[in-house]
Structure formats: C-alpha cells, structure tokens
Amino acid sequence: MHFSIGMDIGLVGIKGVVMKGENIVAQVVKDTGVRPALAAKECYEQLLSDADISSDKIQAHGVSGWGSKTLSFDFDIEYLPDVVCLAKGAKWACPTSRMVVDVGAQTAKVARFDGNGSVKKYELSDKCASGTGRFLEIMSAALGLKVNNLGQIGQAASKLVEISSQCSVFAESEIISYVNTGEKTEDIVNGINYSIAKRVSTIIMRVGIQEDIIITGGVAKNDAVVRYIEEMVKVRFKDYGVDPQMIGAIGASLTAQQT
C-alpha cells in the first residue's frame, strides 16, 4: 500500500490528509490566513508528523482549491481540478452517491458524477458572495456572532425573518435594519440560514436534482442550512462518517494516487 497526501487550499482553511490506499492515516485543518504558502507548508509538515512518516514515503501529492496554483512546493505535485476531487472524495465517502453539494467559503459547487466518480455536470455559484460561506461570515460578523454557531442559534428561532436583499452588501444592511427594529437575533439568524439554503438550492436545481446526494464543505456543519436545503429540494442528504470539509482533500489524495 502506498501513502499519498491530498490538500485542499481554501479561502479560509487548508485541509490536508495522509492516506494509505483508501484509508485515512492523518488529517489536519489549518487557517489559510494571509500567507497561504506558509500555512500550506505547515499543514504538510504537520501531516507528516501526525502520520509519523517521512516525506520520501509519500508516493503522490494532490492539491486542489482556489489557492493551489499560486503555491509552489519543493516536491512533485498534481494540481487537480476542485470538482474532480470533490466527486472522487464524495464517491469514497459514500459509494452510492452520485451528486455532491459543496458549500465552501468562496464558492458553492454542485456536481453530478457517474459510478466511477467521473463528473458529468457541474455548476458553481455566481460571482458574488451570496450563497457561500463568505455570506455567512459577513452576516455573523454583522451580528457579532461566531459563524460556527449560526446553525445552533437559528434552530432556536420562533420565526423566520426573511432576508430578501439579493446582494450581500444590501443584505448586511438589511439585517442591521432588523436588529434596529428589535427582531430577535435567533430569528434573524434563522433568516440568514434560510437565505443561504435558497441560494444553494438554486444551484442544485440548475444541475438537476439527483437521489443519492451528499453535502460537503464547511457549511455542511450548519445543520439548519442542511435541513432547509433538504426541504427545498426535497431530498435527504446521505450520511457519511467523515468530516465534511475534508472531502476535497481526500479526493485530491485519491486522484493523485491514480496517476
């Protein structure tokens, strides 16, 4: 069995895995920060140390994500298309899946793939922040909340404050208006979760809905958003026992192995 490393360089986090064949040996998440190259290097070193192996044992390196092409490494590496990795990782995490919805900080991606994990169709979010993790970041900052808590807070809501602004700049001032008019925080958060779920559902509908679907990326940890998307597109996401934000890195590792 060979070792391989996969890294997914996101806008907010760098996700890395060491795999031995199809099994995860170590996984690391680091903040991307303002110096992605340094963070990526640290992530790589920590992966080796956590897996307790030396770099010469690694047979393949796969890197994907928005920042991947801006980085240089001192070893031979495969730059892989994000969606290819996502599909491969989804297939690995849930072998029956044929569709993956990934909501990351910068982009939301939806892909349909076949039994080999080959992508047949995909769509990305529009070139604006609405419908991405970034939208949640901006909104949580405006409310002085931690983005990771939005799911939980929203589920305590007693009503839905609808955010109807189309642009995240307009939306930010809209939620401030709601704060000023005395709406409860949880109800506004509920509206924010609902709003992003709508945007993501739209992209899913653009690709065309498919059973056997999974959701990945940081936003997949927000249960409220996930439940709303399920209601809107009328499917249930399949469970898989892996950290949802690691799927891209896992896919990168597996794809690199196949070269």
């Binding site: 092409k69 730059y79 298309p81 969606v83 290819v84 080959s118 992508v119 169709k121 995909y122 070139k127």
Partner: protein
C-alpha cells in the same frame, strides 16, 4: 485618463491604431520569430520616433507572441496591412472634414460609403482592448465616472469615454438600429445630449420573416433619406453596387470558411475570429476585406489537404462552440486553448456570419439585401428577436459542426444573452449530450474575469468533464 496632445485632438486613438498596425507589419514582415524581433528590438527602437516607441511598449506581449505563431502570422499580417490603410483613411477624412458617421457594429459600412460618409464603427474600441496592456478600461471608467452603472456593456461605453477625453472626434452623425442594445442606446443618447451631433436610430424588426424584412427595409429607407440630408449627397447607386458586389464576395468566403470548420480537426485558428469581426465592421465592401477572408479560406483548405488542424499535430481535438461570443481583451486565449488543450473554435455569437448574397440589380434590391444582412448580422440576429433564435442557432451550430462542448463565457452586461444560457445549455445536453460551462466575463474589461481566471475556468471544465484526466504543471 491621459490628456490628449493638441496635435492628436480627435484622432489620438486612430493614430495609435495606425502606428500599432504599422509596427505589426514591420515585425511580421522582417522577423521570423518573436525571439528574433526581441533581439533586434533595442536597435530598431532607437530609430523610431518616441511616440512609436511608446506604442510598441504598450503592446500586450501575449498577443504579439501568438501573432508570430506560424498558423496565425499570415492572417494577422494581412489584417494589419488592410487596417493600416483603413486608419490612415479615417485620419485623412477627419483632417479633410469629410462627414463622419459613427455606427453601431451590426451594420455593414457599404451603405454609408455610398452616402458619402466616412463610416467608423464605434466598437472598434475592441482593438485597444485586445492589443494594449492597459486595454480600454480607462475610457470605460471615464464614462462611468459620470454616474452611469458599472454593468453597461464595455464594448459600448469605451467609445463615449474616448469622445469625452478627445481621443475620438465627435462625429457628424451616429447611426444604429433600435435593438440591441440598451448599453449602446444610452451611450449614444448621452453623446448626442453632450455634443449635439445628429443621431439616427431606425427600428429593428423583431420578426425574422418576410414581413420583418419588409419592415426592416422600410426603416432603413427612411434612415437613408435622413442621412442624405445630413451628408448633402444622394445615395450613389454606382458606389453602392461596387461595394455590395465586393461584400457579396466577402460573404461567400465567410460561408465557405464556416463550412471548412466542419473538418476534423478544425483547420481555422480561433484567434482570427476577432479579426474577422474587425475586418467586417471596418472594411466590408472593400477588396482588402475579401482578400483577408480569401487567405483564411486558402490556409484552411491547405491544412485540410494536409490533414492537419489549428492544433498541434497528434493532439486530440476538443471542438468548442462559444455560445455567447468571444472576449476582446485576450483573443490569444483561443490560441492558448488550441495549444494547451487542443480546443478549437467552431464559431461564436460574434463571428457567425451567414452567407447572404445581395441582388445588385437595382438600388432597391441592394437596400433590401443590406437590410437582410442587418437582420442576420452576427449577434444582431440572435439578440433583437425572440430568445429561441439564439438557442436554435447555437443548437444548429453545435449539431452540424459536431461540437464537443459549449462555452458560455457571457458578457455580464448582456443580460438578454444570459437569460437564455440555462435553457441553451440544457438543450445542448439533453438533445446532443454536449456539456456546457457558464461563467461571467466582460467583453472589453479584464477586471471582471482576469486572464488567469478565464484560463482556469475553461481549463477546469476541460479537465473535469471533457478529459477526466489531469495535467501536470
């Protein structure tokens, strides 16, 4: 925006174009490779006037490199030589105070020549976008700085920017059909308000049938009468006939070229599509335009005979239909796609010229033929009418030219194109099994989708869907 020196008032952009095409001519005539050119450049630059040196240094290296490629150079040279004459002519006409007519692109200049005007297409600003490192964003921004929205088509608002700054002389008259588009309509409206020049808009037909043709012809006849008053000259039937006979030949070659692209691999390099458009809007009706397309046809035929295409030999071809249009700020992208992915360019919404032969027997028949061409001019046809026309045309092209994929790199400001993009993509996928990618660009503004992002968008699409394999960088 840089102030215009007094001696170049009203002609700065045209002088810059003239100098640019002259430099291209010198470079491609005297040097085999771009390396040869760069080696000799320091010496040559010493002999050139300061102005020319500045122009040389402002060129985008990528387009110069692409122009030197063996498959591109002859055609680029042919185009440059024709453009030298054209821009010299424009400058001379302005200096002689010949009635200047600025027109929106989806019209042939033949008719305007026969009316005694010096016709100048306002979308030739795309040359600046394509060739100079700074593009035409400064002109676009100047117009927008008045308060106009940032989502107005950049192929239409660099023009008023150049006029405002004095790089482009205020014309005697501007002419355009009513649709499309809002961007050009509002740009022309603003110019007319500020400078008081004449502005003639004739109605465009919404219907592409016989009745539509009658309406279009009638609308153009009325525009002719108004233009005659402005130029003080009646429509010269002999000039029109000579122009239309020439453009008939050009159109026949356009049709032949489009047919040749059905060959596998496609023998016609994609970077030339922007040149096609430029030649059509500047020189249609003149022999140089016919000669340009003749060269394209000859080169394509030669490649077909040899069994080669516009892609490196041995590379698997990916046949791309550009279902919106091309980008102007990086036409060398299409060369890069050929070299990198073997992706050839079938056609697009700005280079799909349908061969329509005009009956030159009478003035009436020629005006009707000109109207017929307007109705079917690339993009005009697809955007002035029902959305189905766009979808049907692209579907027809994808099917008959055997496209492998659709690339909708859509102009952000072209909302009417975008509105059809999903239905178009679905139809290509459902009925032909052809995948599509859609993303936002701005025709003459690299800031919306910078070159690297553009390459990345198409590259990822190729690697994700079309080849399902990856590329070692």
């Amino acid at each position: 925006m840089k102030p215009v020196p007094k001696e170049l008032e009203g002609i700065e952009l045209f002088q810059r174009y003239l100098t640019t095409f002259n430099l291209i001519n010198i470079a491609l005539t005297n040097f085999k490779t771009v390396e040869d050119l760069m080696a000799a450049a320091p010496e040559i630059l010493k002999t050139l006037p300061e102005y020319d040196v500045g122009v040389f240094q402002s060129l985008r290296p990528d387009i110069v490199i692409a122009a030197f490629h063996p498959k591109n150079r002859n055609v680029v040279l042919k185009c440059a030589q024709a453009q030298i004459k054209f821009w010299q002519g424009i400058i001379d006409d302005i200096k002689a105070d010949k009635p200047q007519l600025d027109f929106w692109f989806a019209q042939g200049p033949e008719l305007f020549r026969a009316l005694g005007f010096s016709p100048l297409c306002t979308e030739t600003t795309l040359v600046a976008s394509a060739i100079y490192q700074d593009g035409c964003e400064d002109a676009t921004d100047l117009f927008r700085s008045k308060g106009f929205a940032d989502h107005i088509c950049t192929a239409n608002v660099a023009y008023p920017g150049y006029v405002m700054n004095g790089n482009w002389k205020v014309p005697h008259v501007m002419v355009k059909p009513g649709t499309p588009c809002p961007s050009s309509n509002l740009a022309y409206q603003a110019i007319k308000k500020w400078y008081g020049n004449d502005y003639i808009m004739y109605d465009s037909t919404y219907y592409l049938d016989e009745k539509g043709l009658a309406h279009q012809t009638d609308a153009i006849r009325r525009a002719i009468a108004k233009l005659e008053k402005i130029s003080g000259q009646k429509l010269d039937e002999a000039v029109l006939r000579q122009q239309m006979k020439e453009s008939n030949q050009t159109y026949a070659l356009c049709g032949e070229l489009l047919e040749l692209r059905k060959n596998k691999p496609n023998p016609d390099p994609g970077m030339h599509r922007i040149l096609d458009l430029l030649m059509m809007v500047t020189l249609l009706g003149e022999p140089s335009c016919t000669e340009y397309f003749q060269l394209l046809v000859d080169e394509a035929k030669e490649r077909v005979a040899k069994g080669v295409g516009a892609i490196p030999e041995g590379k698997k071809e990916i046949r791309a239909l550009h279902t919106w249009a091309l980008n102007a700020y990086m036409p060398d992208l299409y060369h890069w796609l050929e070299e990198t992915y073997g992706m050839t360019y079938l056609t697009c919404g700005l280079s799909y010229f349908v061969n329509h032969q005009v009956d030159t027997s009478s003035a009436d028949s020629m005006v009707e033929g000109w109207a017929q061409r307007i109705m079917n001019f690339t993009m005009e046809r697809q955007s002035m009418s029902f959305g189905d026309v766009w979808v049907d045309d692209m579907f027809y092209l994808a099917k008959n030219w055997d496209a492998d994929c659709g690339i909708f790199a859509g102009n952000l400001s072209c909302k009417q194109g975008w509105a059809m993009s999903k239905l178009l993509g679905d139809r290509l996928e459902d009925e032909l099994g052809i995948p599509s990618v859609r993303f936002e660009i701005e025709l003459c503004d690299k800031r919306t989708c910078p070159p690297d992002e553009f390459k990345h968008r198409i590259g990822s699409f190729v690697e994700t869907i079309l080849t399902n394999s990856k590329k070692r960088v």
